[in-house]
Every structure is written in C-alpha cells, then in structure tokens.
C-alpha cells in the first residue's frame, strides 16, 4: 500500500513539475495573482493529490468511523485550535473574544469530556477562529500576491508566513514522545480537516465555471472579510440570543 501511494505521489508530482500550467485563453489577468501560471500548476498538483489520495481516504474514513465519533474527533481538534484562536484574538486586539475563546476551551475541556463535545457553542460562546495570517493582516501587513502552496492550498505571501507561524507555534504534536502516535494524530487531523468540507467540495465543483479562479477570488474575499471583521472588533455584543425554530 505504501509503495502504491508513493508511486501515485511521484507521478502527480512529476506531472505538475513538467511545466507551468497554461492559463486558459481570454482569462483576465488578476492584479492580485501575478504568478497565475505557476499557481495553476500547483493547484493541479493539489487537485490530483486530493482526487487520488485525500478524498478516497476521507471517503473510507466516513464509511468506517460513525458520525458521532467523527464529531468527537472534530471537536477535539477544534478545542485544541481554540487555544490558538484565543491567542490570535488577543494579538489582534480583541481581548473580549480572546477571553471568550479561553472560556470555550475551559468549558469544553471540563464539561465536554476533554473537548470531545462542544458544549460552549450551544451555551452562547460561538467559535471565533483566528490564525497568524489574519493577525498579520490586522497589524496592517498587506497580503501580497496570491500563492497556491503545495499541500496547503490557497494562500498569499503574508498568509504563507502566517501558516509557518501557525505550525511553528503548534506544540500538541511536538511534545508527544511517541512518534507513532504523533504521526497517527497528524494523519487523523488532516483527514478530519478534509472531512469538514467533504460535501462543500462537491458543491464547489458544480458551482464554479473555472474552479481555479473561483477558489482564488473566494479566498481573497474571505481573508479580507475576516480581517475587516476582526478590526471592527466584532464581538457579537449586538447579536440576539441563539434562535431555535419552534418546530424542532
């Protein structure tokens, strides 16, 4: 099995490295994407990786692991990530959201079986994800050109440094002495992340005319939105209580 994976991997890698992908004729050059030709070739590589490895593995994961367990796994990694979201909220100048983020971690770790159940969200403490790329953006660092990273996908020059900082500051796995366990957890984490947009991926396939530019434009818009939201100090203070429909 390992050999097969390696062969597929090498095949995909070499195909993507043969040259830069051609940009479809008539495509309007985007000011934010000067490296489009290179980015498209990495995009194709990532798509291949997803089609031949990540998506089939995730499909198997969905088949083998019951949905309750998948939710638990997702909540567990989510609870861990909430620590970093809280840290970044603080760095972004949102101490209120940082405190709420920490409250989430405490509530979910203590009352949610160590993070397996998300008790905080229905309790009125919704998640506010934040990462270093966003933090740099809030600090006024411009995004720079759009970049598609191998394995990680859509990014920008700024967000590449952000991702590096995210990984550098991630201690969960580094402190684990057991190498096999550490690798399994990393694998599970990747599959869980892919599983989170399992159905959304198919929807995207149907909605986009040109998937590359659809994903790119969406990524750029979304990052901009997140940074603006954070700058506005969006703290949910003006929001109403969680609404549940009466027919449940």
């Amino acid at each position: 099995m390992k050999r097969v994976i390696r062969q597929v991997f090498i095949a995909v890698l070499s195909v993507s490295m043969i040259g830069c992908a051609t940009i479809p004729a008539g495509t309007q050059p985007s000011a934010q994407d000067p490296w489009e030709s290179f980015n498209r070739s990495v995009f194709i590589f990532n798509e291949g990786l997803d089609n031949y490895l990540l998506k089939p593995v995730t499909t198997g994961y969905r088949y083998v692991v019951p949905s309750v367990a998948r939710d638990g796994i997702n909540n567990f990694f989510g609870n861990y990530n909430d620590i970093y979201s809280a840290l970044n909220q603080l760095l972004q100048g949102n101490p209120g959201l940082a405190a709420k983020g920490l409250m989430r971690v405490v509530v979910n770790t203590v009352f949610g079986l160590g993070g397996l159940i998300d008790m905080a969200t229905p309790g009125g403490l919704p998640k506010h994800k934040a990462d270093f790329g966003q933090t740099f953006g809030v600090w006024g660092i411009p995004s720079g050109p759009y970049v598609v990273l191998p394995f990680f996908g859509p990014s920008s020059v700024r967000d590449t440094f952000g991702t590096a900082a995210d990984i550098e500051s991630d201690y969960l796995l580094r402190l684990l002495p057991d190498v096999a366990l550490r690798n399994s957890l990393t694998g599970l984490r990747i599959v869980n992340a892919r599983n989170n947009y399992y159905q959304a991926g198919d929807l995207l396939e149907g909605a986009a005319i040109d998937k590359y530019s659809f994903v790119r434009d969406g990524y750029i818009q979304r990052r901009q939105y997140q940074i603006e939201q954070s700058k506005a100090g969006d703290d949910d203070e003006d929001s109403t209580r969680p609404f549940q429909n009466p027919y449940e």
């Binding site: 479809p24 004729a25 008539g26 495509t27 309007q28 985007s30 939710d71 997702n74 989510g78 009352f111 998300d118 008790m119 969200t121 229905p122 309790g123 009125g124 919704p126 998640k127 994800k129 989170n196 159905q199 959304a200 198919d202 929807l203 149907g206 909605a207 986009a208 005319i209 040109d210 530019s213 659809f214 434009d217 969406g218 818009q221 979304r222 990052r223 901009q224 939105y225 997140q226 939201q229 949910d236 003006d238 929001s239 109403t240 209580r241 969680p242 609404f243 549940q244 429909n245 009466p246 027919y247 449940e248």
Partner: protein, 214 residues
Amino acid sequence: MKIHHAIPIYAAFVALTFVAPISAQNAPIDESTPNGLIRSIVSDVMASIKADPEIQKGNIARVVDLVEKKIVPHTDMRRTTEMSMGPNWRKATPEQQTQLIAEFKTLLIRTYSGALSQVRDQTVQYKALRAAPTDTEVIVRTVVLGRGDPIPLDYRLEKTPSGWKVYDINVLGVWLVENYRNQFTNQINQNGIDGLIAFLKERNKMLASARPSN
C-alpha cells in the same frame, strides 16, 4: 472538587443551554422588515427540511422544490445576474438576458439546495440590523451554528414595490455576485455571451443527472 459536587453545576449548565433559547422563539415576526423577512423564511425552510424524512435521506429534488416555493419568490434574480455580468450585461440582447437569468437561477438553486440538504441540527443566530428605517438597501447578518465551525451567512436586500428582495448572499465572507464576476467575464472573453449560456445549460444538465455523494 468532588465529582458529586460538580453534577448540579453541570445540570444547571445543560439546562441553561437548552432551555434559555426557547424563550426567544415566541416573539412575533414582522415580515415587513428585512430582518423579519429573513427570519421568517429561514425558520420556515429549516423547519420544513427537518420535518421531511425524504430530504434527510438526500432527496435533492425535494429541496429544489422547497427552495423554488419558499425562497425564490423573495429573490431578485434579475439583479443578481445583472450585477454578476457587470459591463457585459448591456452587451447582451434582451433574449440573452432572459436566458442568462434562467440558467444562472437554475445553477444557484441547485448549489443552494445541495447546501440546504445538509441541514440537520443547525440553529441560526440573527445579528441586530444596522440600518435606518428609510434605507432601501440593507444587509441582514446571520450566523449558522452547527456541529462544525460557525458559518457567517449574510443577505443583501433591496426594497421593491413588492416587498424586500434578496439579490446577493455572503457565505463565509464571500459575496456571491463578486465571486461570479470573474467567472462570467472569463467565459464571455473565451466564448462570448452565447458561449456562457451554453456552458451554464450544459452544467445544469450535468448537475440534474448527477447523484449526490454522501
């Protein structure tokens, strides 16, 4: 802390979590305001999805039916298409415009229905409307809370003689119209307006015959 001391706290917390939101339900919904309208549509549609075992099993046709009955009447697809087309809209003949609206509408209904068919135990949080009573263009902001990460979902509405109409939505920070602008422009540059219409028709045909993956 001994474990039996923690139990009452735990019970109180659970009770607070699940009981408190119910008190907010019974307030009457005013459909003449944009946020009241969105609230009324969303709670109606979500209730219908949760009550329909066919939809829970993944019957997309039923969702499409629901969307056409309950959501489409409150949208302005002409404006959505016009804005997505940008300057190319004026270059299209009235006939092409009609076709574009119809095909784009089908594509969006299809995509939207696919997303809606995933609704299980989500709840929707409504943010306070930041608008003056005289405004004719407003944004209604909501957050969908479910098992995964919260999904910000905003609606842009305009006031028309026949009531408030949605003409753009924002999912996770991405405005639909803005994201389709490059898609349309590129396709038109490559194959012209008729090429875009043909592409959308082909895509819709493909989506209609595709089976949902699960």
